[in-house]
């Protein structure tokens, strides 16, 4: 019975189903799983109550991000075949179960259960949930794919804005003991299960041949990169275009994480010996501002890409991003406003890079298996998640050991980020339309459509 309800065939939208019901369905998933960015709220309470080091308390989050990339890559094809409702249900089940297992771990002071629950099981929920609405949104909004995926992926950025104060207030209520953390995890698991169920019930796929009213697909695309052909996920990873985008995404994310991961200590270090030092509360405000632009950039820049084209918007992310890093490196601690504004725009490009990439993939490979292709591309995120912190933390530690302070702790990292962004900019220039030999044969288009609907 349940399997039937989750089956793709049961999610085909009836006549007159409004496509504007799909973005809230997608948001209910992404706003929930975006909680991952707020894991730091639990770090200190876990360290104190379970006697853990800072490195160890990061393990659940790090494993969750690794599992996100792996499950998106491995499960992408399955998500395409089973449909968005199945994927959202799996995401909801894994994400909530992860919290419940973590609650058991906290209650019994068994940290390995927290790692297993939040990191491994919950991480699978992150990966499947992240890609679950992408393909469906692109099919509902063929006229504005960048805007549609931007809305959903904005939710992933916004999830931490909700979870951070919510989790904090819960820990204040229940206490930061193992029992209090367990109660907080339990409430998270139950509430997120209810919240995500909206997506499971509401999501629909468009009927075969459905188009937005008054919209006609272009016979031959006016934009050179936009294809009307179909490329399978298996073929996509054999194309140079896929690996060009992999590098572009990886370096754009690395550059953003360079600031995001160390934002609070970075702004404090920068202005420590100036007339305008930044305290803990103000540093939290800086982190909040970066979260805001990270979130808004996902919607604003991705929507803009519908008008100016994907290649051009990545020229902006990578080119202007490199210039902004240069301004920060050169200006140093002369102006707090310049530092904050540059960091905000860089983080908007970071978010924009995430949100625009599904539409870029759709342009190059068509919407046939874009969800599965997107899943494979997200391995670039896993690599960037290690690379960015490794560069910034490693160099800051090294400079500190040499007795340096202030902006000098980060200047070298910023020049490395500039280099990565320039490389990404150049690689983006190599993106060309996918060669016809990778397209699904025209004779198989009917079979392909059946496979897609199966």
């Amino acid at each position: 019975m349940a399997v039937t309800f989750l089956d793709r065939s049961r999610t085909v939208a009836p006549e007159n189903w409004s496509r504007w019901l799909i973005p809230p369905a997608a948001l209910s998933i992404h706003l929930a799983i975006g909680q991952a960015y707020a894991w730091s709220v639990f770090k200190t309470p876990l360290e104190k109550s379970m006697d853990l080091s800072g490195t160890l308390s990061s393990v659940p989050f790090q494993l969750a991000i690794v599992m996100l990339g792996l499950s998106a890559a491995v499960g992408g094809t399955l998500v395409e075949r089973k449909g968005p409702r199945w994927a959202m249900f799996v995401s909801m089940t894994c994400f909530s179960t992860g919290f419940l297992v973590a609650a058991l771990g906290a209650a019994t002071a068994q940290f390995w259960l927290v790692v297993l629950g939040y990191g491994l099981i919950g991480g699978i929920g992150l990966g499947i949930g992240y890609i679950s609405p992408v393909s469906t949104l692109i099919k509902w909004f063929p006229d504005r794919p960048g805007m549609a995926t931007g809305i959903a992926i904005m939710g992933f950025g916004g999830g931490a804005l909700i979870a951070s104060p919510w989790s904090t207030s819960m820990l204040q209520t229940f206490g930061s003991t193992t029992g209090g953390i367990a109660a907080a995890f339990l409430v998270h698991g139950l509430v997120y299960a209810v919240f995500m169920s909206l997506g499971v019930f509401l999501v629909r796929v468009p009927r075969e041949g459905w188009r937005p009213a008054g919209w006609q697909p272009p016979e031959k695309s006016e934009k050179a990169l936009v294809t009307t052909a179909r490329v399978s996920a298996a073929n996509a990873i054999r194309t140079p275009q896929f690996w060009c985008l992999w590098i572009v995404l990886c370096f754009n994310v690395t550059a953003g994480i360079g600031i995001l991961e160390k934002a609070a200590p970075m702004i404090t270090d920068f202005f420590r010996h100036t007339a305008v030092p930044v305290g803990t509360a103000a540093a939290a405000g800086f982190v909040a501002l970066l979260s805001l632009t990270n979130m808004l950039g996902r919607f604003v820049w991705s929507s803009t890409s519908d008008l100016v084209g994907r290649k051009n918007i990545y020229r902006l992310y990578l080119g202007a991003g490199a210039v902004l890093y240069l301004i920060i490196a050169v200006a140093g601690n002369t102006s707090k406003l310049v530092f904050v504004l540059c960091a905000m725009v860089i983080l908007s490009f970071y978010g924009g890079g995430f949100a625009t990439v599904p539409a870029y993939l759709k342009d190059l490979f068509g919407s046939y298996q874009v969800g599965a292709i997107h899943g494979r591309l997200l391995t670039a995120w896993s690599v960037a998640g290690v690379l960015g912190p490794m560069i910034v933390d490693g160099i800051a530690d090294h400079e500190t050991a040499l007795g340096k302070q202030g902006p000098d702790l980060y200047t070298t990292s910023f020049y490395i980020m500039i280099g990565l962004l320039v490389v990404g900019f150049i690689v983006n220039e190599f993106v060309r339309p996918v060669h016809g030999r990778y397209h699904e044969p025209a004779a198989d288009s009917g079979v392909a459509a059946e496979k897609e609907a199966a």
Partner: protein
């Protein structure tokens, strides 16, 4: 399930995600004030 005959579904769906979002936005503003004014 014609959504055009069920405006409540559209309203409920968007409120479902907008209310938590508004809460997050409110908490964000409180923090940002501390950066420049706090």
């Amino acid at each position: 399930m014609n959504s055009t005959r069920r405006p409540w579904l559209m309203t409920l769906a968007w409120l479902w995600v907008a209310v938590p979002f508004a809460y997050g936005g409110y908490e964000l503003i409180l923090k940002v004030i501390q950066l420049f004014g706090g």
